[in-house]
Amino acid sequence: MALPEAKQTATEARLAALELPEGGCLKAARQAALSRVQTMGLPSRRDEYWKYTRPDTLTAAEVSKAAVFETGEAPMFDGFDRLKVVFVDGVFDADASDDLSLEGISIERIADICEKDIHWAKDLYGVLEARGQTPVQRPLAALNTAFATDGVVIHVTGTPSKPVNLVYRHADEASDAILHHVIKVDSGASATILENGPAAARFNKCMEIDVADGGALHVVRAQGRDHERRAATHMFARLGTESVFKSFTLTVNGVLTRNEAVVELTGDDAVAHIAGACVGDGDFHHDDTVFITHDAVNCESRQVFKKVLRNGATGVFQGKILVKEGAQKTDGYQISQSLLLDDDSQFLAKPELEIYADDVACSHGSTSGAIDEEGLFYLRSRGVPKAEATDLMTLAFLAEAVDEIEDADVAGAIIERLEGWLARRH
């Protein structure tokens, strides 16, 4: 079916501004992704899946500039014992990065494996993304697969002694970064990936994650506090039997952020937790779009999303649990809540359940509310000033999402950062 003319034109304009990288072993995957984009067309406001978030600036041929933001504070996860992999405006920076060798894990650049004819990543690159295109299209992810200029392929073979920290620095106000990572976790292996930094004026990131039977992967990322950046990120995860995948995202500020997570539970007894906490102010727009497919028996999935919005900020949540026929004993939980600190802010939520098995427990809840006045008065009556009391209540509201982080040190660092950010406003 031909695309609507406007969509066709917009898609062609964007593609014309990009160059398909030399492929090597990823050539076929890139070309297949390109034809997916051409068939689907890039998202437009009229697409149901983009009803609440305007994709224009994400799909435009020209990047909207974003001033480089000086935070005046140490980057998130500094001080952690970690293996640092640094990208500046979407380009790997070997000098700023640590030595990539670490026991139990292998890390290579996409750019390097492209030169090889055979590589394990070939069987994953673009594969999970392509699977994630049905039943809902995600053209920006296909665009990423086709045109990603950098990224890493990570093979977790054991239990590395420290997390891998992907650091995304922003240096050029007109940078347009497309990064693609592939992570393969072997049977019984386990690792933690930390991500932080604004990355670029416009950032398109795709992460494909394959967790084999009994494997575990934890991803914790922090997006913020720069405001002008735009980001569209995708996470495609496939989980084997008794495997675990947990992801948490903290987002503070950002004029436009769309984080999509597409998780497929393909082995029995697998566990997937996708959580997010965000704090937005003013022309902040943040969209969490999650699609979890249960295609095996006795799997557990949790979606926990909390948003604090003020001064006209917008939060979006589109979350779906699809339980396929035969995925009995599914335990699916989904909650999305917003704390609206004024009348101008809005939270748009579309929670969905689609269930084809008859022996499952699935629940979803979505709420919007103001700060609890009773609680606020109680704290103040004990001497806690209003601003501090509001922060305490705000942190408490976000706590259920932050609690999804398994590593206590990482959770502590996230909370500490949140406290600092909230206190700045006093």
């Binding site: 609680g375 008065f377 704290l379 009556s381 004990r382 000033p385 942190l395 408490a396 509201f397």
Partner: protein
């Protein structure tokens, strides 16, 4: 300590006068009890004194050690030495009880220009005080009042009072929802805090709490005014004859 003169208060949202010229004086070292029938304005008095929204003072004054408290924010009143033990302590999911206590103690110290308590000193103090109130470590770790029984909530109020060491303690129907054993425990906690520099205002329906917290002065509040003041024997009179007799006598 606390001096209330001709206090007149109405609800902000509706034109309903609740307190109609209340006079009251609580001296340091004394326990004053306020008793009264439902709807007489007992809880309104405690809320107005602690600074809750929704009430409008149309006339009169309230001072704590000479300072006009009605103009102060709730947190400023707390720092000035006022404490209200809530009739219905509020549950705050996500805020740990210990965090809450430490934040409150240090916020008050800061407001008074005192040095904040170190984490270890705070911990030592809170543990000792919790122990006498039979508050276990688990209750200190849990979110504020969440999942607490009625008795646990009230004990938690007294623990806060003990930690904050206020000058004036207002106890709003602290006996409601308590069985006899829990009431004893709470009363012991309160009695332990009695000293010559601290005043108490104990608001209650029933005389039974006053068996455990012996008042120096008893006031009867009715129709938004103190209608009778006496010694502990006044509470016994209420217990035996109800409010009807006293009110008839006042009206007459």
């Amino acid at each position: 300590m606390l001096e209330i003169k001709n206090l007149q208060v109405k609800l902000e949202d509706e034109d309903k006068q609740i307190l109609k010229g209340l006079d009251l004086k609580v001296e340091a070292g004394k326990v004053h009890a306020i008793m009264g029938p439902n709807g007489s304005g007992k809880s309104t008095l405690s809320y107005v004194l602690s600074g809750r929204d929704g009430y409008e003072v149309t006339e009169g004054s309230a001072t704590l050690e000479g300072e006009d408290i009605l103009e102060l924010e709730p947190e400023e009143r707390a720092a000035a030495g006022m404490f209200l033990a809530f009739q219905y302590p509020v549950e705050i999911p996500g805020v740990g009880n210990m965090t809450f206590l430490r934040t409150a103690v240090n916020a008050q110290r800061k407001a008074r220009g005192e040095e904040e308590l170190s984490a270890s000193d705070f911990l030592k103090e809170v543990r000792a005080k919790a122990k006498t109130l039979k508050i276990d470590a688990d209750m200190l770790k849990r979110p504020v009042n969440v999942g607490f029984s009625g008795g646990e909530k009230k004990r938690n109020e007294i623990l806060q009072m003990a930690m904050l060491e206020p000058k004036l303690c207002i106890l709003d129907e602290t006996d409601s929802g308590l069985d006899v054993d829990a009431m004893k425990l709470v009363a012991e906690g309160v009695n332990a805090l009695r000293d010559e520099n601290r005043g108490f205002l104990v608001i209650t329906h029933y005389q039974r709490l006053l068996d455990h917290i012996k008042p120096d002065v008893v006031h009867i509040l009715a129709g938004g005014r103190i209608v009778k003041t006496g010694g502990p024997e006044l509470a016994l009179e209420v217990e035996n004859n109800g409010y009807a007799g006293i009110l008839a006598e006042v009206d007459a």
